[in-house]
């Protein structure tokens, strides 16, 4: 298919149009709103069969998706920031009911102070909710992740909800070049939705979401943990198939000049793109630097990360979130992954870009400069005015 110019939100809406989900429940919130606006245009023009439900809150959006998915419908929603926070209770329930709901999160800072711009505090707040979480670097990846996520979510070994994260404004509102798949290609790739024990199969009645006592709760959580573990090899399998169709090959991590690098910065989302530009510039100056991008954040690719970072001189981990009273969540995971290696490079944390604070090439060069000079502290607050 020929290339088109769209922003990240429009790219997600396009992926949904091509999937033609059964139910979409949504509530407006910046910077996600373009997705549901664009999608409601498809609904109004009869380009999809979807029942489009304009809920009265994000809590209800997720509840509607839970009801619809349990009933036997392929269900989608999208949100950001406070909307995701309002859904919090239902995120855990969607995951524990093993419902393959697909949701896009336009990453935006949590209040307060109220702020509409990008950071990862919303997604990180739902880190342990049992959702598979993927981060997109750009518009193309927002589209590609969205399509792949249906296959991951609905895989019989997984049956878990998937959250596609794209940086608010930076990806959601930036117009970039996108190469979409053909409609029928998407249809074949995603396939027919096959629900398990749907409510609407009334001749075979099932009870969904029953009360669990201490004799079974733990076992259900264990099954959920195993399903989450399965999501990693399943993602690789799905991505390989997607790569064959599109020529765009994705893995759980992406190594950009990492193999021969001495100093590596780890990042997620749009910052990985900026970091690659930094790597290009510094490489020209003779610095042996690289960027490790995490695409699949949950389940976390511990082994892949450990292998990628083995033997490095120093590692900087970029967290676009503040974890009060502790280190950043990505930093914590990266250090934990490295622990299984024989030798541990000095690994430091950089908190950056909160509430949409712009972080450009020059800002990120500081990270490598401090890594090489050995002047980076264990925890650094990049560019904060003191």
């Amino acid at each position: 298919m020929k290339r088109i110019a769209v922003n990240g939100d429009q790219a997600v809406a396009l992926s949904w149009k091509q999937v033609n989900p059964d139910v979409c429940a949504s509530y407006p919130i910046t910077p996600q709103t373009i997705i549901v606006e664009a999608f409601s245009d498809y609904v109004a023009d009869g380009e999809v069969d979807t029942e489009f439900v304009c809920s009265e809150s994000e809590h209800s959006s997720m509840s509607i998706c839970i009801g619809a998915s349990s009933a036997g419908a392929r269900s989608v929603t999208s949100t950001a920031s406070a909307g995701l926070a309002l859904m919090w209770e239902m995120l855990y329930i969607a995951a524990s009911m093993r419902l393959p709901i697909v949701m896009t999160v336009a990453n935006r800072a949590l209040s307060g102070p109220i702020n509409i711009h990008c950071d990862h505090s919303d997604a990180m707040g739902s880190r342990d909710s049992g959702w598979v979480q993927m981060f997109a670097e750009n518009v193309q990846e927002a589209y590609d992740n969205s399509l792949m996520s249906f296959r991951v979510a609905e895989h019989p070994d997984v049956r878990l909800p998937v959250m596609n994260c794209l940086d608010g404004f930076i990806v959601t509102h930036a117009i970039e070049s996108l190469t979409p798949m053909e409609d029928d290609q998407v249809k074949r790739f995603v396939g027919e939705f096959k629900p398990t024990k749907p409510l609407l199969d009334w001749k075979n009645p099932h009870s969904h979401g029953p009360f669990d006592m201490p004799d079974f709760y733990y076992e259900h959580k264990y099954q959920q943990a195993m399903a989450m573990k399965n999501a990693l090899p399943v993602f690789k399998e799905v991505a390989a198939e997607y790569g064959k169709l599109t020529g765009r090959n994705y893995d759980v991590i992406e190594k950009y000049m990492v193999d021969d690098a001495e100093y590596v910065a780890v990042a997620m989302g749009s910052t990985a793109g900026t970091m690659k530009a930094v790597v290009d510039e510094l490489r020209k100056e003779g610095h042996k630097v690289g960027c490790l991008k995490i695409r699949l954040f949950r389940p976390f690719p511990y082994q892949e990360v450990a292998k990628a970072l083995e033997g490095k001189k120093a590692v900087a981990v970029m967290d676009r979130v503040m974890s009060f009273g502790a280190v950043g969540p990505l930093f914590s995971d990266i250090r934990s992954a490295e622990f299984d290696n024989r030798v541990h490079p000095r690994t430091v944390s950089y908190v950056y870009g909160l509430g949409g604070r712009d972080v450009g090439v020059e800002d990120l060069k500081v990270v490598f400069r401090e890594l090489e000079a050995g002047t980076a502290k264990t925890v650094n607050y990049l560019g904060v005015k003191q």
Binding site: A25, D49, S60, S63, A68, M90, D201, H208
Partner: protein, 313 residues
């Protein structure tokens, strides 16, 4: 209207073996509601006594598809189920004509689930919402809700030396729901199964959202002998505290015993009969709280007159 004999021969949708208390009105209400339709039905249940006691894994008392997801969202959950039904029917994946019903307590309806209910009604989903109103948070141990009666003692509005139970009157939820101008809303009581089933049947066939508020006496929370549940429910109606009426496509109508009272064919009993029947109002027997009793009676009278006006429109 079918006979009791015919009803007894119908398939059992909520089976015995659940763990609700002896004398609990909730399974009585649910069984009556479920007798009101012969179409395949999906049940959405809010968190509460009814959900906990009918679903303890790995058992289930449900012979029909049943879903529970959380406390405050049963109307949103059924919105999702019903939306799935609509789209799958449109796609030809479902052939049968199906019905959808929510069961929720007063906490899940008057308080925490009010927004989700209002939203689902406004969106026009086809479902019957049944509030089993036992006038407090019974599952957590009898705490005050927006449905708790003035003067009732609960564990969070106890009767003390200074405060005689709940200070406020309950919100009039049935009227608030009717203000959504939905096809059908009604109040019912399990003592009059015929009236309740007729109303539930109208709700199921309303072609849009329908709401049934059912007085649901709770022996534990209201402090009465468990054999008296049905008598207590009847007393709520006979005193005018819980009038039986319906809002049917814009038209207000008294029904059953309340209709007889309104037509002058029966006497409305004094509220003191109601207050004396339950331990939660015991403290109001103290002459010191006489003014509270008078206030409660005055409020029943005022609301009764209001309904009379509405039903004469």
């Amino acid at each position: 209207m079918i006979s009791i004999k015919e009803m007894a021969a119908k398939p059992v949708k909520l089976t015995e073996g659940h763990r609700l208390c002896a004398g609990c009105s909730e399974p009585i209400v649910a069984k009556q509601v479920l007798l009101a339709t012969d179409k395949p039905v999906v049940v959405s249940n809010a968190t509460g006594c009814f959900e906990v006691s009918t679903s303890g894994y790995p058992y289930s008392a449900w012979n029909v598809p049943w879903i529970h997801s959380a406390f405050e969202n049963t109307a949103a959950t059924i919105s999702g189920v019903e939306s799935a039904y609509r789209v799958l029917k449109k796609k030809g994946k479902i052939k049968d004509d199906m019905r959808f019903v929510c069961f929720a307590g007063d906490g899940a309806t008057y308080d925490i689930g009010f927004q989700a209910l209002s939203g689902a009604i406004e969106r026009g989903h086809q479902f019957l919402y049944v509030c089993m109103n036992n006038e407090a948070y019974m599952n957590t141990g009898i705490q005050r809700s927006g449905a708790t009666q003035r003067g009732a003692a609960t564990t969070t509005c106890p009767s003390g030396t200074c405060i005689p139970g709940k200070r406020e009157f309950p919100k009039d939820l049935t009227k608030i729901i009717a203000a959504h101008e939905l096809p059908y809303a009604a109040q019912a009581s399990p003592h009059n199964w015929k009236d309740l089933i007729e109303k539930a049947a109208k709700g199921f066939e309303a072609g849009g959202p329908a709401f049934l508020n059912v007085i649901s006496p709770c022996p534990r929370g209201w402090r009465y002998e468990s054999a008296q549940t049905i008598e207590i429910a009847k007393l709520a109606v006979d005193t005018g505290l819980w009038p039986l009426y319906e809002y049917d496509n814009g038209k207000w109508r008294f029904t059953a015993e309340s209709k007889r009272i309104a037509e002058g064919k029966a006497e409305r009993r004094p509220i003191t009969d109601w207050l004396k029947s339950q331990g939660r109002f015991k403290h109001l027997q103290d002459p010191k709280w006489r003014s509270v009793v008078d206030e409660i009676q005055a409020n029943v009278d005022r609301k009764w007159d209001e309904l009379k006006k509405l039903t004469s429109l």
